[in-house]
Assembly symmetry: C2
Homo-oligomer: 312 residues x 2
């Protein structure tokens, strides 16, 4: 039931304490039913063609009889408030499919919150029986690391650029990729895509391999023309088979459970401080003093911490 | 004394408790001597030409008799480990100037930590008598927001692109800019720069103005040819004059003191948890249980929090 699922996700995304408690109960009840989907992160800079790629891949999976969930995760949007052009109507074909469920990124609240909410949404999607969860994120460093911590396979999508492909590409992001795909390998950009694939392949060579059991490859594809997308999915399935055979699939999920736990703890510690009565009463005074120019941040922080410690 | 200054900054950047305490004492002693520089943030995507811009601007300021500090701030590098190509030798001319002090981003530790360390470094630089502090950051959303919270003037540097300039440009980032400069307005890119300037000017029109007292403008410049850079600096000085006259300069610094305070508090709360003995003893057990597959993140988080609360 899609409406029920959407309501449950809204509950998980809520920042009200009562609703969060309700969400926790639902999550604990559903936890045994979760874990069944293959979770694939698709990340890339704006303009890499993420939506088109996901639409093409998603339609392929639907045709193969899979139920597909698409989850956008953008922790940075909490501070940057989305792109100027706004979200165009995206993934038009997918959004009309009954076996596909698309959910935009939770936007409200603190950074850590978005990650927690997305992880919990995955639990709900899996309990609802989706076979594949595609997690889309826009590449800004932070976001990839967050998404990597909730997926089984992390695909980095790049567009052919103006020759110096690796300018600004972050080591840490390439290192967490299980595969890299150079998209837009069509028309005028074909030759540039060839070059980009070569450059990324070289980069992968001189970076330390993340795992001994899997060698990430660089693919070339055209999501618009549905060229090469099937090969990439083959690679994902090969990865799944391998990782399940050698135990690394389960191991990765368990490591993620630890990160998830610590993330929840950190969220909670900060929430506890922000919602503490003594802190809430002291803050306006601190702010007033700051506005009068009578505030040394170090000393004021110590004072707030002392008040909070005495109060609890 | 540059060597002494560098040592003091290293102290501020340290994560050892003893050194941090030492740093705090120094900072409190120096706080009355701080605040004297004009703090200018320069942000932009990789390839926007930030280093060249800062070098050209910095050389101009030095010729005008100013002492210039350049501080790189990249909170995201803590997770993304810098760019693949590494840092080329940057700002070669500036780095040879006796009246210029250049400091790369603190890299270690948690996200919030980088912001705090950079703010404290600004205190040290100002106490050492620098007139202008240029704070460079690579544009990934998060970083700009962090840098905006420590500077008086925030300049967004962009490169002319392939036509759809605003693709992926974040609302929140454009809204915090006190000026936008389209760099690389030279040679083949001149016409593209003209178009980009027009597009950004339009975007500024339909975004809500951040302040009634200052209307951000869009500039065009070529840092390589030192064209238009002087005009941008004129704009910064005009802003300073205006903002000091109407009180918004001081007001902004005081708001920043509040953010700074809360940042220190959040860092401290998380540090306290991580360094707590009971937590440190419990973590290996939690991790072991996770590795055995016997861990529900929500329940495990609650357990850790309960242990931590009982311990303190």
């Amino acid at each position: 039931d899609r409406a029920l699922l959407a309501r449950a996700i809204t509950l998980v995304e809520s920042s009200s304490k009562t609703r969060r408690d309700e969400a926790r109960e639902i999550l604990e009840a559903l936890a045994p039913k979760a874990g069944g989907s293959l979770r694939v992160g698709v990340s890339g800079s704006p303009g890499a063609g993420k939506s088109t790629f996901i639409e093409t891949l998603g339609m392929r999976l639907l045709r193969a009889g899979k139920r597909v969930a698409v989850l956008a995760v953008d922790p940075s949007s909490a501070v940057t408030r989305g792109s100027i052009l706004g979200d165009k109507t995206r993934m038009e074909r997918l959004s009309r499919e009954p076996n596909c469920f698309i959910r935009p990124s939770p936007s409200a609240g603190a950074l850590g919150g978005v990650t927690r909410k997305s992880r919990e949404s995955i639990v709900l999607l899996e309990a609802a029986g989706y076979d594949v969860t595609l997690v889309e994120t826009v590449g800004v460093g932070q976001n990839e690391i967050a998404v990597r911590s909730m997926v089984d396979f992390f695909l980095l999508l790049v567009a052919p650029g103006g020759g110096d492909e690796l300018q600004g590409v972050k080591k840490g992001v390439v290192e967490i990729a299980d595969a890299i795909a150079v998209n837009k390998s069509d028309g005028d950009l074909k030759a540039a895509a060839d070059r980009a694939r070569q450059e990324y392949a070289n980069a992968l060579h001189y970076l330390a391999p993340r795992s001994r059991s899997w060698a990430p490859r660089v693919f070339q594809c055209s999501a618009v023309e549905d060229e090469g997308v099937a090969d990439i999915w083959e690679n994902v399935l090969e990865f799944e088979l391998n990782a399940k055979a050698d135990g690394s699939f389960e191991r990765r999920r368990r490591e993620q459970a630890i990160e998830w736990t610590l993330g929840v703890v950190e969220d909670e510690l900060l929430r506890e401080f922000r919602e503490n009565d003594v802190v809430q009463n002291a803050l306006p005074v601190i702010k007033e003093r700051a506005r009068k120019g009578d505030l040394l941040p170090g000393a004021a922080a110590e004072e707030l911490l002392r008040l909070f410690r005495d109060a609890r």
